[in-house]
Subunit: 206 residues, 2 copies
């Protein structure tokens, strides 16, 4: 499997690149800056680094790992380069306020809104994995992945399985991303309240 990580020089993207490279996946680290992409690719043990537009060409799956507030604009800008390539959305909108951490106000998930901007299938997942946990080794807990395209979801599940200590689980249609993205705010609230690094494990499955 050849995977591009758009925004691969950020905390989460770089940790993901490192884990995928460790697992033998051919990773291309994408960035807006070619030199920075190449430098971070070396740091992560990835196959290559390139500007995002070049990184997403000829890969089996691209991961949209920019910050949440740049996700939609980045997907739109890369739509041509992506073509029909499956895109994995991992971002969640968060709003920090006095009463805690709040989810975004849009009824649709970032992943569903991303799907409206690109031609290939969008899948979503990995939202509950903390960059800090992923940077140290396979992330605690399970990875939940959702999507409407079976082939793209199978690729994302394969990727997810390579980077978590637990299981990669199929959480249903792309609309499940509303809950998976929303759980990021829950996790940040739990981390603040209990001073931990929360992840999610699903119990009760065979």
């Amino acid at each position: 499997m050849r995977v591009a990580i758009v925004g691969g020089t950020g905390d989460f993207g770089l940790a993901l690149a490192r884990r995928l490279a460790d697992a033998g996946v051919e990773v291309v680290v994408g960035s807006r800056d070619a030199e920075r992409a190449a430098e971070k690719a070396r740091e992560a043990g990835a196959a290559a680094g390139a500007v995002n537009e070049d990184a997403v060409r000829d890969v089996d799956l691209a991961v949209l790992a920019t910050k949440a507030d740049a996700a939609l604009a980045t997907a739109e800008a890369l739509a041509g380069a992506l073509g029909a390539t499956p895109l994995l959305s991992v971002a969640s909108e968060l709003r920090f306020a006095a009463g805690g951490v709040f989810p975004g106000d849009d009824a649709r998930s970032l992943a569903e809104r991303t799907q409206a901007l690109v031609a290939g299938p969008v899948v979503a997942g990995l939202h509950s994995l903390a960059a800090a946990s992923l940077a140290r080794g396979p992330a605690d807990g399970d990875a939940l992945v959702c999507g409407d395209d079976a082939g793209a979801k199978a690729l994302a599940l394969e990727l997810a399985g390579a980077v978590v200590a637990g299981r990669a689980l199929d959480a249903g249609p792309l609309a499940s991303a509303r809950a998976l993205e929303g759980m990021t705010a829950v996790i940040v609230n739990l981390n603040k309240r209990y001073r931990g690094h929360a992840g999610v494990r699903v119990t009760g499955l065979p």
Copy 2:
């Protein structure tokens, strides 16, 4: 603690009544039908059964355990009887379709919409507990509870702690109910896909 369970004769409400009664909580089973409430209260080992309007008087916390499609109308009808009594919302909207199980289409959670209808504080939680698991004993996994009122949330956490095998965890403000309710659809999708009875456990907290 004295707790009323509105819609306490349904699968989830009755299982919750049974677990709370086992834990020594004084439970009033509420129903639209007084006779049925009394019969189910005996079955659950609860203190009493009554029509919903009477069940919610003089309790510390009321649980809104009707089916999701009756939750808002029931809350509105009981607003007078509830007065300032805290209300725990446990329901989630689900839509079953060919592509899987989908969340509701409203950006706001049922719990937030319930808060607009009653004078007392609304808290939300227990969404990931399966009635079947709860009917057999303390439910697998952790119980996540959220709300904007600290006192009401403390009561709900106390209640939740009495009915799960895992921990009762404070998941932040009432807006977290969007994710907690949404996770019910995720759980049903997981149950269908893996033929299990999924629950959620939070990892990584001290």
